[in-house]
Amino acid sequence: MTERMDVWQGTVAFMALKTLETLGPLHAYGIARRIEQTSGNLLALNYGTIYPALLKLEQEGYVASEWGVSENNRKAKFYALTRAGRKRLEKEASDWEQATSILARFLAPAERA
């Protein structure tokens, strides 16, 4: 079995935003599942951590929630990206890209050496 990584603090929110952007309105369970799947099951995600993250995003106004009916006819709370959330996602995505490219530069010569 491959070694699974723990989720870094603070990245769950970003992943949740990205998931909502890709899939549109979704409930907490769906978001958690999707994050796990996207990581190719490399991330060890406690589904419980998604709830406080979503609550914080909602308080910050990046997502909005609404009760709805799930695909298998179950009542569930759906989260959707707000306009502010979309902006936030853009900014965070570019931040991440920059951060990873910087890290990549550090890592690249080390590998060569």
């Binding site: 409930h27 907490a28 369970y29 769906g30 599942r33 406690n46 589904y47 419980g48 951590t49 709830y51 406080p52 609550l55 914080k56 909602e58 308080q59 910050e60 106004g61 799930s70 298998n72 179950r74 009542k75 569930a76 709370k77």
Partner: protein, 929 residues
Amino acid sequence: MMRLLRVWFSRLKGSFDKKRRDLEFGAELQSCIEMHVQDNLLAGMAPEEARRQALLKLGGVLQTREACRDRRGIPLLEALIQDLRYALRQLSRSPGLTAVVVLSLALGIGANTAIFSLMDAVMLKTLPVKDPESLVLLSWTSPKWPVPGNIVKSLSGNMWTPKTGGIASTSFSYTALAQFQTNNTDFSSVFGFADPDKLNVLISDQASFASVELVTGNYFSGLGVTPVLGRAITAADDKAGAPPAAVISFGYWVRKFGRNASAIGKTAFINRVPFTIVGVAPPEFFGVEPGTRIDIWVPIATTHLILPTWGDPGKALFADSSYWWVLVMGRLKAGVTAAQARASMNARLAQTMTGGTSPAQNLQMLPQLQTGSASKGLNDLREQFSKPLWILMTLVALVLLIACANVANLLLSKSEARQKEMAVRMAIGAGRPRLIRQLLTESVMLALIGGACGLLLAVWGKSVLLALMASGRMPVLVDARVNLTALFFTAAVSLLTGILFGLAPALRATSLDLIPALKENSGGTRTRREGKSKLGRGLVVAQVFAALVLLIGAGLFVRTLENLENQNIGFNRRNLLLFGIAPGQGGYSGERLTAFYKEMLLRIQALPGVESASLSQHGLIGTGETILDIMFEGHTPKPLAGNKAQAWVNVVGPRFFKTTGTSLLLGRGIGVEDTASSTKVVVINEALARQVFGKANPIGNRISLSDHPSKTEAEAYTIAGVVQNAKFGELRKPSPPTIYISYLQTPWHSGHTYFEVRTAADPAAMIPAVRKVAGNMDRNLPLFDVNTESEKIAESLMQERLFARLSSFFGVLALLLACIGLYGVMSYSVARRTNEIGIRLALGAQRKNILWMVMKESLLLTAGGLAIGLLCALAASKLVSSILFGLNPTDPLTFAGAAALLLAVAAFAGYLPARRASRVDPLAAIKYE
């Protein structure tokens, strides 16, 4: 930043409908778990395993809930809300206690804030001018009055007797002001002003009275007051021949011109002299005397135009060094002390008085210059009100003390009663800080509720106080909204009370030994109870002491008011209407003025319902007085020294005594037959007759009214009658030696006068008819001081009535609070000793012995408080002696009465628990614990 704000706002919201959000989150979590289980089942797991895996993946339902709950709200706030809710529940569980505590605090704090706001306005606030600290008000003192050598022949303005004796005043001659102003090195500016009575002002055909201040050209620049509209009065305006200019106050501008800027350039006729309005003063500036309100400022150089009667006849007002009428303020230069300025100004003053020649032989008799800080305006109002305010402040402070003692006592008993609850809460794991916080929340909340109610009470109480303190003749217009200082004061007092009396019981309640506290039914251990009751008893003694002091004060003030009201005033105040009119300001003088008065008298007398009418230069009470030196031909008044040879003079019309109801003792009164051409006569009062003639008949003797014996026959008056003593000017002073002269036979009769109207029925109903008569005579002459005499007397006793009422109210309140305190402590003590009492009874004690045992305890407490209270009251009563009338400050009747009342009520409060103790059923009592 905005995001953060948004988060906190939503968390704040989350702190409130917690329950609903919790439920909603539960539902969300549940639905997600079910979906997960469903997926697991589809993936082929067994139902048990599917659920187990789902929960495992979640990482614990409780943990997830907890993580969300803390993020949803603000935990600290939630604890506070919880505390508040709990506190509210606790307080509403004992509504009686809560009500008593809140009411005590509200009354205590409310009364304190009200009085404090007033004190702040009158005594602490500085003038709204530039750098008020460097302003100095000049005054002078002289060991002797009148000042020898005719240095001060006439004085208008403030005059008082300083503590050192003699006389003091703030009025100077205009020549002295000029002397102060020339080449002055101590002051950056010296300015003068004078306040005449209200003057007749006509603006766009509307006549009314306004207070006008005569000011020097550097008054505004010296004070540093800049008009909000137009310009100030300048030195150029303050010159003979300059076009008369006036600055109006902001309030006057609002009232007369509705804030219309076109007021600038309009003409105001002041005593028929046209003035051009050039500026509007800033709204916070009322003049330099807090409590009075100036409407119009005009250059002092126009004085002789608007007030031609001012000054001694035949002398130029501005060159007369013996006519003292100008108040002087100066602004000290930086680095110059008031003492330095005083020395150099005193030399200048001496120069104007001696005319620059060699010093007068009695130099030490000359007025000596004094300086006082003028930063808070003139001292008048402060001197008039500071003592009463301090006394009131002491009264209300005592009330607050009693209220706090009561609150402390009630909180103490309550905390005792709650020891078991505390023990239980600590036993199941509540931390001590948490419990103390809870208890503090309760007491602070009590204090704050009390404080809030108190503030409301203060807002209402202060306007009442302000109205009451303003005696009728002097409307007090201090800017005394409940201000921030007062608010801070209230908040501090209420919080301190809450913390002080919440903390002590809280600390004690939580420091208890758990095991005995839990075991004992009635809570607490013995030693702790002893401590509590010692503190409680101390508080009761303090309450009784404070209540007694208040009651004695109340007794003294009530008896003062009674004495003042029931004294013989020498005239009949009922069915008597008085009003003033000033035709002199409307251009009447000489023959025309006399004719006006005659005609007016005739018309008023002709009104239906008027029994008789007369006029006089001074009203009966509170309208000023004229004092002249008198000489009797052949009969020199025996004690000529001092002011014994002076008489108070009132210039009156015919039928004056009939109208006022002053009875004639000998001879006749002033009648219609006393005209300018008939023999000049005076009527004197009993006091003067007795002083000069002893038991001899004064009728037919002759009198003259000046420093010197009459030189010509025409200036002498023949005594035609003697009337009973009547109050003149002030109710508190004994009737002075008085002479009455016909208004047709004296040069002193002036352009303004009071009319007295005796009516058959309600005199107030006569006012419209009288106004109509005056309006028909000359519609440009407004009436002033229109009021019934009984109302006037009531007004002049406002302060006494205020004191009597407030002190009675506070006294009764204190009595009540102290007795509640006593009752509480004794009830608690009886409840605690139920067991002991039961044993005593079982062992054969008589019920009346038990009754006495408990009664003795409360009587001892009361007696302790009474003893301390009597001693304190004895010492303190001297401080109020100056505002008492007709009784000694240590009036034994008042002292004994107050002590007896307190003892009686306290005995009753102590009797109730004592009776309960004596009725204890021994069997039940022994089982009690």
